[in-house]
């Protein structure tokens, strides 16, 4: 349990790979796909309803979301609807060198499209620089923006956000 979600707040890759919402490595390195990082059984189901392709199943309210990675197009409809902000979309085919990672974001100010920013991992560690490609805000997203950042392909498993800290930082 030393590096588990329940101990640190950060899901390990092993925990994620075992969960039914996490796509296979082969699928992730293909066309765009949703990455659902929801590994605890909590009563919640909006992701299932919002997917326009029926690619997410939550069998009972308490079940983990199951991703049908063949049906999923990586359209990103689910990102802003997950109340836990736990769904990401990765597009390995974005460019020769870069993967496009899309994530939910609820902080102001929003980053500017085209800007180069620090890309961070699940514990906010800066691991590379990335370029903001898209900042989506829609009424239906209800104040959750969806940010897309291009980072080198080898960070497909790690980059899940950008630096937001404005103060002196944490311990």
């Amino acid at each position: 349990m030393s590096k588990s979600l329940a101990k640190t707040g950060i899901p390990s890759i092993e925990e994620l790979e075992k969960s039914p919402g996490f796509p296979s490595k082969e699928r992730m390195m293909n066309r765009p796909v949703a990455v659902i990082e929801c590994i605890q059984k909590i009563p919640c189901d909006p992701c299932q309803l919002v997917c326009p392709f029926g690619a997410i199943k939550v069998n009972i309210l308490i079940a983990l979301p199951e991703l049908n990675e063949e049906i999923c197009t990586g359209c990103g409809s689910c990102i802003a609807y997950c109340p836990g902000l736990a769904i990401f979309v990765v597009d390995y085919t974005f460019s020769e060198d870069n993967v496009l990672i899309s994530f939910p974001y609820e902080y102001l100010p929003l980053p500017e499209v085209g800007s180069i920013v620090d890309a961070t991992d699940r514990m906010c560690k800066v691991i590379t620089k990335g370029k903001i490609v898209k900042v989506l805000e829609r009424k239906s997203f209800d104040h959750t923006a969806v940010i897309s950042i291009a980072v080198p392909k080898n960070f497909i498993y790690e980059v899940r956000g950008i630096t937001i800290s404005k103060g002196e930082g944490c311990i």
């Binding site: 979600l5 909590i42 944490c170």
Partner: protein
Amino acid sequence: MAIVGSGPAGLAAALEATNAGAKVLLIDENANVGGQLLKQTHKFFGSSKRYAGIRGIDIGNKMLQELDKNHVEISLTSIVFQIFGKELLILKNEKIQRVKTKKIIYSCGASEKVINFPGWTLPGVMGAGGAQTLVNVHRVSPGNRILMIGSGNVGLVVSYQLIQAGADVVAVIEALPKIGGYGVHASKICRAGVPILTSHKIKEAYGNGKVEAATIVALDKKWQPILNTERTLKVDVICLAVGLKPKIELPLMSGCKTVHSPTLGGRVPIHDENMETTEKGIYVAGDIAGVEEVDTAIEEGRLAGIASAEKLGYISEDKAKDLKIEVRKILGDLRSGPFGEHRERAKKQLIQIGKSSRQRLL
């Protein structure tokens, strides 16, 4: 009927009761309807059949709009301070009103618990719920560098909202070896750079007239501080998110019997499967009946609203039965899984006691 407390449970009870045609007086000591929902700026979990995916603050407003205004009277800034049977004494605008009712639903919620440590009386040590009120209702950040004590959903959610308001949450500490709240809430604040330190407690708070620093220490498996693991953090606010306890003063005044349930937050009024207490015609719903989540509070409110309207003759026995089955099914779903099972067990016990105590009374 009178419903005391207009949070999620009280609103849900009012919805069901007024839908059935009962005349409801909804009373709240605050200036707005919604209770704790008004401070919840995050999107809620739960069932899409109800309010999942909607921000708490919008759930309160949505429920208020759904209320049939012809059947409900809302009395705000009103304090219920005495009860004689089913008659309430209410203090409003420095005047006392006497209200006769046939049924009472208490949905008064819960209050924050505190822990004591050297320095805990310094200004800057506050309840996490208090900090949330400051930041989300009054739009004032309680400080710049915050230490959060407790990793339940309250600690995690308030940390997130403090970061959104521009404060630095220096760390979340938790005495237990694992995080109490939902992993997705924890992951959210981890991605914002907040370390969550399990098996840690606060040793002392320091400061000249206000909080300026706090020392934390790691705990071993026997809950003992581990030598040389102290760390002193520069902070100006220490938030306590160490649990809630049901606000049972009014049920006590009504003579409702209570039992102690550590799982449900302390002393809770005994109630049956219809949320009726040991006093006939007096119901409880939401955190007052055992501290849980907003989604369960809403379903308990519905149950109390349906059951009391049925007793008043506004819903037929058959229809009430169907409605109650549906609500109990959702309650069961919400109380399943690793975060709900223990509450399900505690509630079942409580209802069992409620049933048997009524049998004794009969």
